[in-house]
């Protein structure tokens, strides 16, 4: 057959076109829809007002995460504890009520499987290769780690998917981001994605779907791939894809919502046809050499503001673009940093290990290895928030919770926590946090909070030294 070689993105797209319109936009079928409490109430309200139903409740899964406090959820007698913030409680109650009314499968706040939507989807096997997957949350790009075309949508689109199981979309351009070589000692998937965003810029991926390729990505675990794909949106790309392979199939096999028996075999056979064909063309290709990537972190208020930990705060004048100079000056003012300061000399008061970027079991293991036998520095508050109840249980079975708590870290219940200032976990104004989350925007972790994005191991290193530190000096 002499058909044109196709990319992974083009193959998934083609398999989901319900109708192509004259202007080139397509009605695209959505296979999987994750729902949480923040971006769904107005969507369900819209359905109710128009007298509409959820077309395919089975293809939908709801779980609360953003608002839930990460402190104990039940009292000693096992009774559910009330949530102090009235508005948070109302949103959580609205979700509970909506899923019951519209018969949407739901993981309750008290279930062992509860967690951050982007941790729960893959963990339950709800996220599958070759599917289209959406959620009213921009970090839905994470699910691309398993080869799903996954992207965040707004609430009107949530309503549209609930009612029709489709979305009207225009095909994106494709960008290949290839990372070749072998990662150096102490370099994690988080450093890889920070380096990529540092290179392409926060709007470098706008209009594109990224496909991550190359030796480094191929060798990465699914947990690591989820970290990389998760932050695609921080590079401006709505979705980031990684071709499914044996690592993906091994990860998914036997998960609760993954296909079983003959369906599994049929699915794997199809998934094997998905990787981009040899000679497939991307609209843009960016390459990175793994040997150039060091443990990295951000210095400013955009995820593109990346430096290696051995580096210093840049001088705004060093940027060519006057707008970037102005932005950098504003960032440094907000961050309370001066040009030329060594990153390793910057002290922190808070450390957050968690979020849909870095709250999976491998992340907690990496942080625990650094925390083991050490203690959180004076004046530092350090939180470890597992991404789901299952991650928490696994970590406890491995004794990671004891490593953390005896080192002076707080061990919390799963949820979005200090990633965004929506629940009680916040960074106070003017204080500094080494955070494994994905956004260092102004006010993201609380009004006036100063965020440095880092990997889990680097976060643990900051916690035990009380300053931003090169984790390699602490690793045995």
């Amino acid at each position: 057959m002499a058909s044109r070689p196709l990319t992974l993105y083009e193959k998934i797209w083609a398999a989901h076109v319900v109708e192509r319109r004259e202007d080139g936009t397509c009605l695209i079928y959505i296979d999987r829809h994750l729902v949480h409490e923040v971006t769904s109430p107005q969507a369900f309200e819209g359905l109710r007002v128009a007298g509409r139903r959820v077309r395919r409740p089975n293809l939908t899964l709801a779980v609360p995460d953003h608002n839930l406090p990460t402190t104990a959820r039940v009292d000693a007698a096992g009774r559910e504890l009330p949530i102090a913030d009235r508005e948070s409680a109302a949103q959580l109650e609205a979700l509970r009520h909506n899923v019951a009314e519209f018969e949407v499968p739901y993981i309750d706040a008290l279930a062992a499987e509860q967690g951050i939507v982007h941790v729960v989807g893959p963990e339950q096997g709800f996220t599958l290769p070759g599917t289209t997957l959406v959620c009213g949350d921009s970090h839905t790009s994470a699910h691309g780690a398993l080869g799903a075309l996954a992207f965040g949508i707004g609430t009107s689109e949530v309503e549209h998917v609930l009612a029709t199981q489709t979305l009207l979309l225009t095909q994106s351009r494709t960008m290949e981001v290839r990372v070749d070589g072998t990662l150096g000692f102490g370099v994690s998937p988080k450093d890889v994605i920070l380096a990529i965003i540092g290179k392409i810029g926060a709007s470098g991926g706008t209009g594109y779907v990224i496909e991550y390729t190359g030796e480094v990505i191929r060798k990465m675990s699914i947990e690591g791939r989820l970290t990389v794909a998760n932050m695609s949106i921080e590079g401006g790309a709505r979705a980031g894809l990684i071709a499914p392979d044996e690592t993906t199939f091994a990860y998914l096999k036997g998960r609760p919502m993954a296909p079983k028996g003959a369906d599994w075999d049929k699915a794997v056979a199809w998934w094997r046809t998905l990787p981009s064909d040899a000679g497939a063309r991307y609209d843009r290709t960016v390459t990175l050499d793994a040997s150039e990537i060091a443990p990295s972190l951000t210095w400013g208020t955009s995820p593109e503001d990346v430096v290696p930990i051995t580096g210093s705060v840049p001088d705004p004048e060093s940027f060519a673009d006057p707008a970037k100079q102005a932005a950098a000056r504003k960032s440094l003012d907000y961050m309370g940093l001066t040009p030329g300061m060594r990153m390793e000399d910057v002290g922190v008061q808070h450390v957050f290990i968690g979020s849909c970027t870095n709250s999976r079991i491998e992340d907690l293991r990496a942080a625990a290895r650094v925390a083991d036998g050490r203690h959180v520095a004076d004046g530092v508050r350090a939180l470890v928030v597992p991404g789901s109840g299952l991650v928490k249980r696994q970590a406890e079975a491995e004794g990671l919770d004891r490593i953390f708590t005896s080192a002076g870290f707080e061990w919390r219940e799963p949820g979005c926590s200090m990633c965004l200032a929506m629940n009680p976990d916040k960074v106070p104004p003017g204080e500094r946090c080494a955070s494994t989350s994905n956004r260092n925007f102004v006010g993201r972790q609380g009004p006036g909070a100063r965020t440095h994005l880092v990997s889990p191991a680097m976060a643990a290193a900051a916690a035990v030294t009380g300053r931003l530190s090169d984790v390699r000096t602490l690793m045995r």
């Binding site: 936009t25 599917t131 699915a267 299952l390």
Partner: protein, 209 residues
Amino acid sequence: MQPATTVSGRAYPWGAKNVDTDVIIPAHWLKTIARSGLGKGAFETVRAQEGNIFNDPRYAGAPILIAGDNFGCGSSREHAAWALADMGVKAVIAPSFSDIFSGNAFKNGIVAVVLPQDQVDRLLEVARDHPVTIDLETMTVTTPFQDRFVFELDAFRRQCLMEGLDEVGLTLARDTAISNYEAIADEHRPWISGGSRNASVVVEGAGRT
């Protein structure tokens, strides 16, 4: 959605780059379960600063906002579009928008107009003291002077904006096509339809992280 063919009037000559949705509407405003009333929280952190454009009486209630590159980046919260709509903004002009934001804006009747930086710069200058007009019919932005800038807009979005059409209703009218697709997809990829209900089957490996 109200039909609209032109947006005309004062414009906030802001020009800021990389305005993220956390700036448009901070996270603590996201706890609402309604769509209205968010105008109060719009640009809260910007409004807290001295001499900001949003508290400038010259631009009070302006229907147009002029911004820099990458407007609406960051979180996918549609609250950003609701907040803009609630404060009376009907169009945003910028050199580029985040994909998610421009989709959300459109669904709430807000026109996201993309123009090259030099034309945006010119509009920033004019808008300080003069009104700006966006015409969806001719797809132009004009000023009281000789400026006439042509922009592009997806034909479908343009039609929806101009006629005030409800997108869910339009898609539901394609029900037969969707059902036909589902029947074919079910045959080729039977594992899709199990979805979240698959979990009721107890399997080995459940409880893995």
